[in-house]
Amino acid sequence: MAGFADLNLPQGPDKKSLQSLLEAAAHLGYSAVALNHVIDFKEKKQEIVKPVSPLELFPSLPIVQGTSKRIKVLTRLTLVVSDPSHCNLLRSTSANIRLYDIIAVFPKTEKLFHIACTTLDVDLVCINVTEKLPFYFRRPPVNMAVDRGICFELLYAPAIKDSTMRRYTISNAISLMQICKGKNIVISSAAERPLELRGPYDVANLGLLFGLSESEAKAAVSTNCRATILHGETRKSACGVVYTVKKPRKVEEEETPLPACKKVKTQA
C-alpha cells in the first residue's frame, strides 16, 4: 500500500494559510499533497505561470505524524474548460505546463469530457460535485480513460460546507460508480482551511458511501494517488522509461581565441 495523498489543496496567495494547511495535512497523516493552481478560461485571458517551487514557499516542511519523513509537496495545474478551443493549450508544447507535476482538466460539457478521456494528455479528470451533472456518463469514454491510466477526481470539501452540495456530491459520485465500477477513483479535498481537511481513513470511509468497496475506497486515497503521481512523472520522460537530467555546464578555459569553425574542427 502506498502512502496517503491529498491531491487538491487550492493554492491561495496567502503563505501562512498554506503553511497551516500543510501542517494540518501532515498531522492527519498524509505523506504527499499537491498544491492546485486553477486556470479558468471563462475569465479574461489568463497565462499559465511557472509553478512556484515548494522549497521556496516553505523553508521547512512538517513531518508526517506517525513516521519520521517530511511531507512531500507537489504542484498541480487544473484547467477548467468549457470550449474546445481551450484544450489547445494542452496540445501546444508550452514550456510552463511541463513544469507541473500533475495536470488535471475539469470538463464542463459532454463533448469535452469525451475529449478529455480519450485524447488529452492529462492525469486527472475532475468531476463536478457542486451542481447537478449537465451530462450523463457513458461507458466508452470512461473505459478508455481507465485504460489510459487517467483517474477521476471527486472532492469532499464542498460537501462539508453546504448540504445541497452534499446531495450533488453523492448523486454524482454514485452515477460515476455505476459506469466505472469503482476503478481509478481519487478522492481529494479542495480544502481552503485546515478545518475542512479530513483524515485519510475517514475519507476512505466516505468512499464507502459513494458505493466503493473497502479496498477500492482505501485505494482512492493511496494507491490511485500514487498511480496519478507516477503518470505525471512519465510526461517528463520518454515512454516512462528514459529520463533526462540536466548536467551542470562546465566553464571552458580558452587559451587562444579560435574562430568558431576552427574550434569545431579541433574538438571533433
Binding site: 500500500m1 453523492i170 454514485i174 473497502e214 482505501k218 485505494a219
Partner: protein, 368 residues
Amino acid sequence: MSVLPPLRRLRQAPRHLLVCERGHAGDARSRHAARVRDHAYNCRVSFLIPECGVLPEVLKSTIADVGQYYLVRNLSVHELVAHEFIDAFVKKGSCYALTYNTKIDQDNTAALLPNGKLILSVDKDTYEELGLQGRPSQYSGKKVMRYIVTVDLTDSGFHPDSKKHNRVLWALKEKKPLEFDFLLAWYNPDAEGSTLMSYFSKNQIQALKPKITFSTLRDLECPVLQSNELQGKPDESCSTEELFEWLGAVLNQVSLNNKSSSFLSTYCCPQPNTMVEKAFLCTITGFIIPEKIIQLLEQLWRDEGDQKNSITIFSFCTALQNPCASNHSSSLCLTLRNESHLKRLFNSPEPCFQNDNGAASEAQRSVF
C-alpha cells in the same frame, strides 16, 4: 449498484472473532504460555485485581523487574544481519526488534522475532529495488502493493561467506540500504556477555523503562460469570463477549454509569453483576516481551493465599510476526480465578481458567 448495501454495512459492527478456551490449572498453563509467546510484541499489559486496594507483595518485585527496552535511531537493517549480532544476541536467549514510527500499511517495516526470523514488510517499489525473494502480502488485493521478505538468521545455511548471507548483505547494504528507528529488547537468562547498549554504542541508543501506573477503583460493578456457561445464561451469568467488552471499558477507564450529562459513552456493566468495593488496576506500557508476561502470570498463579484473587491480564500487540495470520492488532486476555473467588463469581467449586483470545475485525483485514 445502489447505495443501500453499504449503508446497511455501516450500521453493523465490524466483523470480529472472539475465541474462548477453558482449561484446568495443571495442563492449561502450557497453553497459556504458548499463547503469550505467540504475541511477540506487546505494547500494554493491564491487570485488574478485584477486592484489592494495593499492589500485592508478591507482585512488587516482578513489576519492578519488568525490564528495559532500547530505542536505536537510524539503525541500518544490515547490522541486524551481521554475524557478530547474530552470535551475540539472536542465538543466545531471545532477541526482539521492531521498527518504530513506521505504519504497516504505508511504509516499510521490519521485525526480528525471537526464533531468529527477520521479517521485512516492504512496499512494491522497495521490493523491486531490494532484490530479495519474498511473497505478496495477503492483504494486498488483486494489484499487489505489499511484499513480505523473510530471512532466517539461525538457518544452518546462513553462515558467513555463504551465498545466502552474501546476497542478503549485498541487498541490504548496497542495493537498497534500509534504515529505521528500532525498538530492541533482549531476554537472556544467563545474563552474561555484552548487552545491547554496549553493542550499539555507536548509534544513538536510548534505554527506556516501561511506564507503570497504578490505580484503585472504588465501587466497581463486575459481571457474574459461570465457568461452564461461556455463552452466558440470561439472569444468571454473562457471556464471554460481554466480559471482554466490560474488561476493555474498565481498563480504559470508561465510566460505566451512563450518566445523562455525559455524551461520551452509553455503556453499562452487563447484567447480572455484583458490586465490588474496590479493585486494583495496574497498567504497564512499553515494549514488553512475552517472557516477562509469563513471569508475571506465574507469580499471579502462585499467589493463592486467602486473598480473593481474580486477575485479568489484557495485552495489546501488533502481530507482524505471523504475516499469514494477522496484520492487525489483536488483544490477548487471560483471566484466572482461584478457587475461593470462584465460589463468589462462579457457581462451580472446581478451579477453572478461561482464556479469551480476540482477533479484531476480519473485515478490515483486506483494507488495513
